[in-house]
Amino acid sequence: MSSDGYLLEVKNLRKWFEVRRGFFSKPLWLKAVDGVSFALRPGEAVSLVGESGSGKTTLGKTVLLLHEPTDGQIIFKGEDVTHLKDKKKMMWYRRETALVQQDPFGAMPSFMTIYRILEEPLIVHKVGDKKEREEMIYRALEEVRLTPVEDFAPKYPHMLSGGQLQRVAIARALILGPSLVVADEPVSMLDASVRVEILNLMREMQQRRNITFIYITHDLSTTRYFSEWIYIMYAGHIVERGPTQRVIRNPLHPYTKALLAAIPDPDPENRKRFREVPPGEPPGLINPPPGCRFAPRCSRVMERCRKEEPPEIEVEHNHFVKCWLYV
């Protein structure tokens, strides 16, 4: 663990994808994540919120080293893991981190039983013998409340519902006892009725095991269930970050404000209220606009916004915003 007690420190992380238009043309870069910094303590949960294409999934997968970082630094438990070459270190990092995906059907090999799916990570990391693994698998299934476990273990993924499969996915992610979990829109493909259940389950496991959780979502309304922290992403940047309650009650960035305003609310009074939706589309990431990337859509845009990239400013304690309005 690093001296300041952080489990994960991400410093100025960039992930650019190479785009080739033709054999001889100069390669272009799609800047999916472009200079992101944050740090998380053990047991903290953060919601990474942003619209499609904002780079939140790329950020999550780059942190897990499923993408090779282009630039920047990832420090995990005091170790620089940015470019892990050592196989042993890599296996350690794989064991310490886990991923929960969006599509529970696609996330399971259809030709393996639930038992085998859960056994795979244990086999890969050579955990226990056959008997011990069986115990661990049954315990993991119990923890995600797929009981009776003997009934679920021999089933194939297609015999389970989406919610049940997502529980299996959670069990698989947690079976190796990771300290960092990235959940990439884990409930967006599920029925509304089981979403809260799954989120509560994840929250419960996270708190019980003191896991650092990065919860990626485009749905601000679910973040309340989940996290202490909220990070708002826009076009490869984190534009605002802070404690969940504070960001939601007191959004600073114009984009955050727009996002919050767009949350549908069952209160009938709201029908009459005017919703301010930012016009236009998010910018292309191959050639993003200079300066603030939200500038073309911002209602409070200034001359400066179009030229210079805004710095990250701590407006109140732990509440950062990347906007010229607060300089």
Binding site: R94, S110, F111, H125, P157
Partner: protein
């Protein structure tokens, strides 16, 4: 998720297979073929089969040449002659052997009478007499006189000869001397000059009528007798003989131009064809699968190299290349198999499988496996190949007939295995001996039937499997 709901277990597939008519048919035929193969390999070991096919020690000399299978009689509604043998050393009804030494000398008279019944509707294809005598060839050798006695009692002197060799063979039906003797006898005793198409067998087994002069002879059924009067000159000399009357039908598959029973090659062709076809298609499919998976998975430079090699391979003309190799080196069947595999491993199948791999490697479950640290090798073998294997199986089975026919085609061109009897070799022999021109249809039809049945079984199995792993092809 089109894959969801698909579960492949051997038992499940078998159960599903049995719900299709083509599945049942193919399984029944394949079971028969495999049973036949096992039976063949167990009862006729390869070395024995090769020896039999070479006809070592003149082992087929008592078989008719180019005899049709016995069941041909059923189609022509005739009692076609089968081969039968009568030996003077056998103690049985109708065989009489008497010896009378001439007192005061070492000369001995031997009288042999062999009776047999001829009930068939057609003439025999050949008549031979095999002697088994005892004498010293450097001294006076036995003198043998042979008479043929027809059912009506007519006695025809066949030949008179001094023996040269104790195991002498008298090729009665092709011996010019005997033919001349018979014709002379006919002219002298019956005043008939047979037309030149009348054969020795026809004179021996036919009704002697003036129609012979026009070349028309009918079979005379009844009890015949072969009488041999021999004179030996030295003590201890003896004469014995065996008459073989060759039929025009033989066994269940007939014989070829070298008197070999075709059943040997038909039986042996089964394991050879199945082994060749299955091994070729299995080996090629599995090697291609691995190459394609590696190509698709690693992408980059490895992919480029594999793809370029594949493209070069796709240009090489497979069959001409194979024919060239086989013609130059006279390869045996297993070497041909190896050449076929080597020539096919970088086939076009790689392209489609690679495309499939590139699609599957982006699936979330593969990403999940990476996230918990599964190695590339593990992901390829346990995550990607199980996913692409089931759709490849029907094609694999379906490509078996192609290789079975390939082996037959090479044999037909005379480029097959030089020793092992195979179906293709029968067809090759038949072709070289003008089987169709001479009317020996069975010679071509039998191996062709085996080839077609085998091909059909594998093709039907392939189609049925295709319906199972590709539910869209299912009939509603």
């Amino acid at each position: 998720m089109s894959e969801v709901g698909m579960e492949y277990s051997l038992k499940g597939i078998l159960r599903e297979l049995l719900s299709y008519k083509s599945g049942i048919a193919s399984i029944v035929i394949l079971a028969l073929l495999i049973g036949l193969s096992v039976y063949t390999v167990v009862t006729i070991p390869p070395q024995k089969a090769i020896a039999m096919w070479r006809g070592e020690n003149n082992m087929w000399i008592e078989n008719p040449r180019n005899a049709a299978p016995e069941w041909m009689a059923f189609f022509v509604h005739k009692n076609l002659p089968k081969t039968f043998k009568v030996a003077s050393w056998e103690k049985s009804f109708g065989i009489v052997k008497a010896e009378a030494p001439l007192p005061g000398t070492s000369i001995k008279k031997i009288h042999i009478e062999m009776s047999f019944n001829y009930p068939y509707d057609d003439f025999p294809s050949e008549v031979n007499i095999f002697f088994r005598a005892k004498f010293n060839a450097s001294k006076n050798t036995p003198l043998v006189k042979i008479y043929w006695i027809k059912p009506d009692g007519t006695r025809i002197p066949v030949t008179e000869m001094t023996m040269r060799d104790p195991n002498q063979i008298l090729y009665v039906s092709v011996d010019q001397q005997i033919y001349n003797n018979l014709v002379m006898w006919l002219q002298k005793e019956k005043g008939i000059t047979p037309y030149k198409t009348v054969t020795t067998q026809q004179i021996l087994f036919g009704k002697i009528t003036p129609a012979m002069a026009q070349g028309k002879v009918d079979v005379e059924k009844g009890a015949y007798k072969l009488v041999v009067d021999a004179t030996t000159y030295n003590k201890g000399d003896d004469v014995d003989l065996k008459l073989v009357v060759y039929g025009t039908v033989y066994g269940i598959a007939g014989t070829d131009h070298l008197r070999r029973p075709l059943i040997i090659a038909l039986l042996w062709g089964t394991p050879v064809a199945i082994a060749f076809g299955l091994t070729a298609s299995l080996a090629i499919s599995i090697i291609q699968l691995f190459i394609a998976t590696i190509s698709g998975w690693y992408a980059g430079i490895i992919d480029s190299i594999i793809q370029r090699i594949t493209e070069i391979y796709m240009i090489i003309p497979f069959l001409p290349f194979l024919i060239m190799m086989a013609a130059f080196y006279k390869l045996d069947i297993w070497t041909i198999l190896a050449v076929v595999i080597v020539l096919s491993i970088f086939g076009a199948g790689i392209k489609s499988t690679r495309a499939l791999v590139m699609q599957i490697k982006e699936y979330p479950y593969v990403e999940a496996a990476k996230a918990y640290g599964a190695s590339d090798a593990r992901i390829i073998t346990f995550y990607i190949i199980p996913k692409i294997l089931p759709p490849l199986v029907p094609g694999l089975i379906g490509s078996v007939p192609g290789f079975v026919f390939l082996e037959a085609a090479l044999s037909l061109l005379g480029l097959g295995d030089p020793y092992l009897p195979t179906w293709g070799k029968i067809i090759n022999d038949a072709y070289n001996n003008g089987a169709l021109y001479k009317g020996y249809y069975y010679w071509i039809l039998e191996p062709s039937f085996m080839l077609i049945v085998t091909a059909l079984a594998f093709a039907m199995l392939g189609f049925a499997l295709d319906k199972i792993v590709n539910p869209r092809l299912r009939e509603m």
